[in-house]
Symmetry: C2
Subunit: 153 residues, 2 copies
């Protein structure tokens, strides 16, 4: 018998924050102190989508433009990302990860994956299969989210 939506929701609400906190703690720890989770995600997105605008990043991350602007600001001021001019539309940004940003991203990714892999290595193969399957399902359920209208008065 399959679990109800309610039961599944309860499980998600209990477990997701716990896993998330663990990931966040790891990223803040000595081993990979360079990027926070949102910084990591933004950098990774722009790396995979070179030339993205700020709005693209905001949409992907499910953040407002001001939040995204500030987030990106921090990355730019640290030399991890670069702002270029868009040829056609001068309002628009073209974002790109710098060489240094890429190296930081890789270091952070390696450290975090190593940390998580060690934990997941203690689980059984069946458990990992469950997890990977569930992540696929969750991705399709949750990724079409994001973007709430900007409150233009």
């Amino acid at each position: 018998m399959n679990p109800s939506p309610e039961e599944s929701a309860r499980e998600l609400l209990e477990v997701i924050p716990v896993v998330m906190r663990d990931i966040r703690s790891q990223m803040r720890s000595r081993r990979s102190p360079d990027l926070t989770v949102p910084q990591f995600r933004a950098l990774g997105f722009v790396d995979r989508n070179r030339g993205s605008s700020l709005s693209d990043v905001a949409y992907h991350m499910g953040l407002t433009l001001p939040s995204t602007s500030k987030l990106v600001d921090g990355l730019i001021s640290r030399g991890l990302m670069a702002r270029e001019e868009h040829p056609d539309d001068r309002r628009r940004l073209k974002l790109a990860v710098t060489r240094r940003g890429l190296s930081t991203l890789e270091t952070s990714r390696r450290a975090t994956l190593a940390y998580l892999s060690a934990k997941l290595g203690n689980a059984s193969g069946e458990q990992r299969e469950l997890i990977v399957g569930a992540m696929g399902a969750l991705r399709s359920i949750f990724s079409a989210t994001a973007y709430r209208e900007q409150g233009v008065k």
Copy 2:
């Protein structure tokens, strides 16, 4: 063939933040603006573990004592939680959820579960089964985390 720890880690790192952001956004939205995710979790923990000390909460949440102190402070100043004196050890707190805190917790929980249930209702029963199974596995993998030594010089 079962997925490797590395592959599983990669999936986790991609999907968990997306789901988490969605939950956080929902909690911040008009429908349940009363509690943030950490507030919700702290209140829920103390509700299930009446008389917990601050350290108990910190341990459960994987936070430092100062962070937890501030978090609990906010709940107390809003009348959602109460600090009582411990009979045996006057350094220790005994925390309890107030009636108003309980009602806020219930409202928030209902709204969030309804939101998540609606999303999960669009998934198939098999997908929900995967998800519930994976949450169980993740719980056992990640819940023994928490607590880094306090930096007492």
